[in-house]
């Protein structure tokens, strides 16, 4: 075996450019596959982290009538915060928010929006809620996201009228002042909505102490699966859309890996076929020296597979610095992604796991081995004396 490896190595290096072309293409497979899967893993992680930090925390309790797709349910989907949660909320491990509908009149236009009331002192979400504590005498401070701000063509400091109907149906209106515009990668917390302080919204709606959604801090589940009138939504349920997106992207990109591998294998296959064709005398000699046919097939298979080993080394040579750099600086899309339709950051940080690297290496090695073995089977059918004479068979 040792000799086989040594021989294979010599043969490969001796072939010069031919080998290096194959090796470079194959090394692409390593690097590109690891990189792309890393990006997808990173995206998955980042999307969930962003959702955790902006939208869902560690999980939520939804009022049983709350339906995010049907704004008409909002007038009914609120209830007093359950007693048992109040001490947890006071500790800051949970945050209630109240959701209602309103109409905003920016620059004389009319826009139906969602108004969310949130505790200004909360620190479960990254939302700049402390800006809701800004002191303004004749208007309510509000914050909104950058997508919303762009759609409405408003900037920080703008004042506009907000109209709503309270729980009893009474019309009410007030001015709001945008005290902060945040930029989040989670469109669900941005599009079509503004935030004001929970206290203000409860007062405005005439719903003291009520909430629509109660979120707990990541990793601090109160462990109450059943709460009367509230549906528990775990983080896993709430991020299932990300999982699905990632699944589609994984399936979709794996087609590309297959084609990339096919490409590399095409080169190796071609090389193997030629080797066996040109090196008949050598094969004859091996057999004359007492190698069994199987051993010779093994020799050629090792030689072909050695391509993958060299490719791994070459790939590591430029791939490790590249992948490390990517993981550190991220892959920044040269464009503004703030108004993307999904949770996607401007910069994606690929995340590689040992499992990912090992899997990729195993798959590529194994494929290369099969492709190297395939043409070598011919050797087993060769007549050694003919081969020795170099007769083409």
């Amino acid at each position: 075996m040792k000799i086989a490896i040594k021989l294979a190595y010599r043969n490969l290096i001796g072939a010069g450019l031919r080998t290096w072309l194959n090796v470079i293409v194959l090394s692409f497979s390593f690097v590109v596959i690891i990189w792309m899967r890393g990006i997808i893993n990173g995206w998955n992680r980042q999307a969930k982290d962003d959702m955790t930090a902006w939208e869902i925390g560690g999980g939520q309790y939804w009022h049983e009538k709350y339906d995010p797709f049907d704004p008409f349910t909002l007038s009914e989907s609120h209830a007093p915060v359950p007693e048992e949660l109040i001490p947890i909320i006071n500790r800051g491990e949970m945050e209630p928010y109240l959701i209602s509908q309103g109409t905003l009149y920016p620059r004389g236009r009319m826009q139906t929006i969602i108004v969310k009331g949130i505790n200004p002192k909360q620190d479960i979400f990254l939302l700049p809620s402390q800006k809701l504590d800004t002191l303004i005498t004749d208007a309510i401070p509000a914050v909104t996201g950058s997508i919303m701000a762009r759609n409405l063509n408003i900037t920080r400091g703008d004042r506009m009228m907000l109209q709503w109907r309270d729980a009893g149906g009474t019309f009410d209106a007030t001015d709001i002042v945008i005290t902060e515009i945040f930029s989040a990668n989670v469109p669900n917390v941005d599009q079509g909505q503004i935030y004001i302080s929970l206290e203000n919204l409860q007062k405005m709606m005439n719903l003291p102490g009520e909430a629509t959604i109660i979120t707990y801090r990541d990793g601090h589940s109160p462990g109450l699966t059943e709460l009367d009138g509230w549906n528990h939504k775990t983080k896993q349920e709430l991020t299932s859309s990300v999982d699905e997106l990632i699944k589609v992207k994984s399936v979709g990109t794996s087609v590309m890996y297959v084609i990339l591998l096919l490409l590399a294998m095409l080169g190796i296959f071609d090389t193997q076929v030629l080797s066996i064709f040109r090196r008949q005398k050598e094969i004859g000699t091996y057999i004359a020296l007492g190698y069994t046919r199987r051993q010779v097939v093994g020799l050629f298979t090792v030689e072909g597979t050695m391509n993958a080993v060299l490719a791994a080394i070459v790939g590591a040579f430029y791939g490790i610095p590249f992948l490390a750099l990517q993981a550190k600086t991220g892959w920044t899309m040269p464009m503004d992604t703030s108004d993307f339709g999904m949770a996607i950051a401007q910069t994606l940080y690929p995340a590689y796991s040992a499992g990912l690297v090992i899997m990729t290496v195993i798959v590529i090695m194994f494929t290369t081995m099969i492709v190297s073995y395939w043409p070598s089977r011919r050797i087993a059918r060769m007549n050694p004396t003919e081969a020795l004479r170099g007769k083409i068979q």
């Binding site: 009149y105 009228m161 149906g169 009474t170 019309f171 009410d172």
Partner: protein, 244 residues
């Protein structure tokens, strides 16, 4: 001290009297406008942002709780009927031959695209039951002396927290009304004119509604014919009559 007490008593008395007055005024207005029953034909001109439309209809009303309206023109709306019993509302559309109950958020839709919502039409509670009122001043509208009444909601389930009404001091007919949000923001304005004496009642025959949050030139409602205290058969106020 005595003086102060006197002043306070006088003040209280004045307030009492004026609020009493305001309620009385409202009651008089209500008894003037509403009758046991009435039949009227009306024309509604809706001045939209892009075009104007004219809709005519005939209505049968008994008290505050029952009303039945049949649309006469344009062709598209002809035969559409609307029945209101207590706090329920049904619409019959002849093209579909269906009776549909209007409830929930559908009540917030505008009536025929006008500046009026179904909800505006539906609230049949007496103003004096849901608002406390006081006279806050006097005004002159097109040569008529008026009291200005300010109404503040006593209950929580009203659309408009406050209203301002201008009541003709002589005829007890409202000439103008403004509806406000809790914050004081004016939302709708109604102007009543062409007050006529019909069967001994003073009755405004032209009403202009303007939803201030809506573009367009408002909705003009004109009563072209009105008869009071007619005999209206009971079967009109049944769902069966919608389909006839």
């Amino acid at each position: 001290m005595k003086r102060i007490l006197l002043i306070i008593t006088t003040l209280l008395f004045t307030v009492f009297v004026s609020s009493q007055n305001a309620d009385d005024i409202l009651k008089k207005v209500e008894s003037n406008i509403s009758s046991d029953n009435r039949i009227f034909e009306s024309t509604m001109i809706i001045n939209g942002a892009r075009s104007s439309r004219t809709i005519t209809s005939k209505s049968y009303v008994v008290g505050d709780k029952q009303s039945f309206t049949e649309y006469l023109s344009p062709a598209r709306e002809k035969g559409t009927k609307m029945l209101k019993l207590e706090n329920q509302l049904w619409i019959y559309s002849p093209s579909t031959d269906r009776i549909i109950q209007i409830a929930g958020h559908m009540l917030r839709q505008s009536v025929m695209g006008s500046d009026l919502s179904y909800e505006d039409m539906m609230d049949d509670r007496k103003l004096t039951d849901i608002y406390s009122s006081k006279v806050t001043g006097n005004d002159n509208i097109e040569g008529r002396e008026t009291w200005i009444l300010e109404l503040t909601a006593k209950v929580t389930d009203v659309a408009y927290q406050t209203r301002k009404m201008w009541i003709d001091t002589e005829r007890y007919v409202p000439l103008r009304e403004e509806l406000f949000a809790k914050s004081g923001q004016m939302l709708k304005r109604t102007t009543m004119s062409e007050v006529e004496n019909i069967n001994g009642r003073w009755f405004p025959t032209k009403i202009v509604y303007k939803d201030l949050m809506k573009q367009g030139g408002g909705t003009e409602f004109k009563i072209t014919q009105v008869q009071f205290n007619q005999k209206i058969p009971d079967h009109i106020f049944t769902k069966a009559s919608l389909k006839q």
